[in-house]
Subunit: 125 residues, 2 copies
DNA sequence: TCTTGACATAGAGTTTACTCTACATTGTAT
DNA sequence: ATACAATGTAGAGTAAACTCTATGTCAAGA
């Protein structure tokens, strides 16, 4: 299947302007029809979903662009791309670990508040 | 103990400019000495550490500012502050869950690459 | 044929969170 | 007394990632 940009926008949840911006930044290169309109494919859809994943895990656009370039080059870049993903997984692990630590501290703080509120209530009896 | 901004910057890892910016944005209000220099206290240090935690877990400056205002008001705002933290913990839980899902998919992708690289190697024998 | 809606490009504007510059003041060591 | 390093304010500049505006094209329905 092929989709014009409006439909692809709905499929991806990404806003027409954002899709054009991504193309300009070299993240994606949809086909064009005879009237120069963008024709996004199902492959583009899979690819955009992966881009979103990279973004949501904190990879900056420039780095995704680099990955996209390697991808466009094909097989000779397979190991370099894998290397990037392995690095990124490492970063993601650390990110998750840090958030979990933050969560523990946040829970403690909430517990502290619970006690404070209790204490203040009792003081005002 | 009290610290001038340069020292406090080192203690917090936050850059002098950033500390002044945070003050301007209403996140922190250090004392001033007779010559108008900022005198950060240990309480400020604890508070900044908490600000960093909120920031690192994705809370925007504006919301932290709101929390800071409630904090400055004192006891009457205890439950509202706790409410904010409970909400934020919820968001954090979701954030962590999402990252964990992303990690699983990323691992799958890496596994896919491992197989692809193997396949390409064998094809070129 | 005329209008309308989706699409095209180029470039300007926005938001967030800093980060830096210019210039004045002050405390301290020589 | 003077030099200098740290600090002060006000305001400009930066980077990332969008987001919007102006203007033009084009295919399809009334």
């Amino acid at each position: 299947m092929e989709y014009p940009i409006g439909e692809f926008s709905k499929l991806t949840g990404l806003g027409i302007h954002t899709l054009r911006y991504y193309e300009q930044e070299g993240l994606i290169a949809p086909e064009r029809n005879s009237s120069n309109r963008r024709c996004y494919s199902d492959k583009d859809l899979t690819w955009i979903e992966f881009i979103k994943r990279l973004k949501d895990t904190g990879m900056p656009i420039k780095e995704i662009k680099h990955y996209a370039e390697l991808r466009a080059t094909g097989d000779p870049t397979l190991s370099e791309r894998m290397e990037m993903l392995v690095q990124h997984r490492q970063a993601l692990d650390e990110q998750i670990a840090q958030l979990q630590e933050h969560k523990i501290k946040l829970d403690e703080k909430i517990e502290f508040y619970r006690n404070e509120i209790e204490r203040v209530n009792n003081t005002n009896l």
